[in-house]
């Protein structure tokens, strides 16, 4: 039998491509090795497995008495507070985002530096740590959920305005031209072509941001800006693993339910 059939033809070789691939691979391996240096993995506490086990068993044997006891310090009211912080924060940021979005949107009728500067401003807002913002607002309005609302409201602008501006960039000029051609004013254009076309994208992005805000709001409590994070950090510090378990469970259920509802609304919108 002729054995040549059994051999596959050799792959075509593109030297330039191969060199770049190898270079990228080497650089990434060097980076990974570099990041392993200096990290002391021996520093893990001996009790690590035990505590992890305690938290896990806490999740499966939660402290049910904490769920609702009517004092306003229980799980349900803290979760409700978290949701309210996220809701109000998202609402504020949606309003602030609109002008920013029109500033940053790269449409045809604008000079290039207008949208570029808007994009840079948004990138800076996005990168400004949320927790620091929360602490600054705590200084201004005192600890509590108000600081959380304001921090969320301002921080979300960075991402939300970016999404909005992308929606504006994706708008088609047709409806605008149609309104102009029958003699519509600038106000008419906004009322009858821009806004109706933009609305579904705006609502869907705001809902998406609400999902993210729920997660952020449950973190903000770690620094004292209201919500479920505060009782969690207290429970972790006092090693009440059952309570840690029920709080984690509560957060997971809350996030899943909110994700599900907003996903359902978004699906109906599109």
């Amino acid at each position: 039998m002729d054995t040549t059939y059994k051999k596959l033809p050799s792959k075509p070789v593109d030297v330039k491509k191969r060199i770049t691939h190898w270079l990228i691979a080497i650089v990434s391996i060097v980076l990974i090795v570099w990041s392993c240096t200096g990290t002391d993995f021996g520093g893990i506490k001996a009790s690590a497995a035990q505590i992890a086990g305690a938290i896990f068993s806490g999740i499966f044997h939660p402290d049910w008495s904490y769920v609702y006891n009517g004092t306003g310090e229980d799980l349900i009211s803290q979760l409700w507070q978290t949701i309210c912080i996220a809701f109000l924060g998202t609402f504020i940021s949606a309003i602030i985002s609109l002008p920013f979005a029109f500033w940053a949107a790269n449409t045809r009728h604008k000079k290039w530096y207008a949208s570029r500067s808007g994009k840079i401003v948004l990138a800076i807002i996005r990168s400004f740590p949320e927790i620091v913002l929360a602490l600054m607002f705590i200084k201004a309005v005192g600890p509590g959920s108000a600081a959380g609302v304001l921090a969320l409201g301002f921080h979300s602008v960075g991402m939300l305005a970016k999404l909005f501006s992308e929606a504006i960039e994706n708008l088609e000029d047709g409806p605008n031209e149609a309104v102009t051609s029958v003699g519509g004013s600038k106000f008419n254009i906004i009322m009858f072509s821009t806004m109706p076309n933009l609305m579904p994208a705006l609502i869907s992005n705001t809902l998406y941001r609400f999902d993210v805000s729920i997660r952020s709001a449950s973190i903000l409590g770690l620094v004292g800006a209201g919500g479920i994070g505060y009782p969690l950090i207290i429970a972790l510090q006092y090693r009440q693993w059952n309570r840690v378990g029920i709080i984690l469970l509560g957060i997971i259920v809350m996030v899943v339910v909110i994700d599900w509802i907003s996903g359902w609304i978004r699906k109906k919108l599109v």
Binding site: L31, F41, K45, P129, L135, K139, L222, L236
Partner: protein, 266 residues
């Protein structure tokens, strides 16, 4: 102008939609409730605005001599982000092969594994940090674990969706010539999804750099530690330095990574 012409001048009336009204009522009610629950009054902000702006002014006069102390922790932060991304995405890679319905045909297995994945995805990054600090103790290791789990949550969903959208032809061809599962993955699945994988890992890395900068605040290593220390003693000039360094690094890494993702996808 005849009456008919006048009618033409008017804009057509919109049809009244009861659902819109209901949504409006829900949103307004939600606003009232949340203002009540959170006790937010904009007036308080304006009353104390001088304090807020004062912090801002102090931050905008950063203390550059502090830069020397910041850089080592900054490097630690980046190391944490890299390690967290690598560990998380390696685990996510294996996991995504197990939950892709075109590779594992058993719906019970994929269903259960997907349920676990969805639960992990819901936990926010800083909460993971707080829990891991309690488990492994204060230090960058807690941060690396937190970032790894967080990366897993972000990446695994993108991974398995990419795997499920591949062209089934190569898989069928390999099955037809008698290849086993590993060979199918290596020769039919991987070549189709490699670019997506790399791009998603880079995307996760961007998110992780952002997340790792604040993880230190709760004791999980990195530059956030100094953030907490300087804020505690009200040394806002130093805080300003840290924030500027963070913003520069985050924007720089975002830029490099998004450019390389664009180059990949070409």
């Amino acid at each position: 102008m005849s009456k008919n012409d006048q009618d033409l001048m008017n804009l057509p009336k919109k049809k009244f939609n009861i659902m819109n009204l209901i949504w409006l009522v829900i949103i307004v009610a939600g606003l009232f409730i949340s203002v009540n629950v959170t006790n937010t009054h904009i007036s308080v902000l304006f009353a104390n605005f001088s304090q807020f702006s004062d912090i801002f002014v102090q931050m905008s006069h950063p203390d550059w001599s502090y830069l020397g102390a910041v850089i080592p922790l900054l490097l630690e932060t980046i190391k944490m982000a890299i390690l967290g991304t690598v560990i998380g995405s390696v685990v996510a890679f294996i996991y995504s092969l197990l939950i892709a319905r075109n590779i594992i045909k058993n719906k019970v297995v994929t269903g259960i594994l997907r349920f676990i994945m969805n639960i992990i995805r819901t936990i926010p990054d800083l909460l993971l940090g707080a829990v891991f600090v309690a488990i492994v103790g204060i230090g960058p290791v807690a941060g690396i674990f937190a970032l790894a789990v967080f990366t897993f949550g972000v990446v695994v969903k993108l991974f398995y969706e990419a795997i499920e959208t591949i062209d089934p032809g190569p898989i069928e061809a390999l099955t037809a010539v008698g290849a086993n599962k590993l060979q199918i993955i290596w020769f039919a699945v991987l070549p189709q999804i490699m670019t997506y994988f790399i791009s998603y890992v880079l995307y996760a890395f961007e998110i992780n750099v952002r997340a790792s900068t604040v993880l230190g605040y709760i004791g999980a290593g990195g530059i956030g530690l100094y953030l907490q220390q300087t804020l505690q003693v009200f040394d806002y000039a130093k805080t300003g330095t840290i924030i500027i360094v963070i913003i520069v690094v985050v924007v720089l890494i975002d830029y490099v990574s998004s450019k390389s993702r664009e180059a990949l996808m070409k």
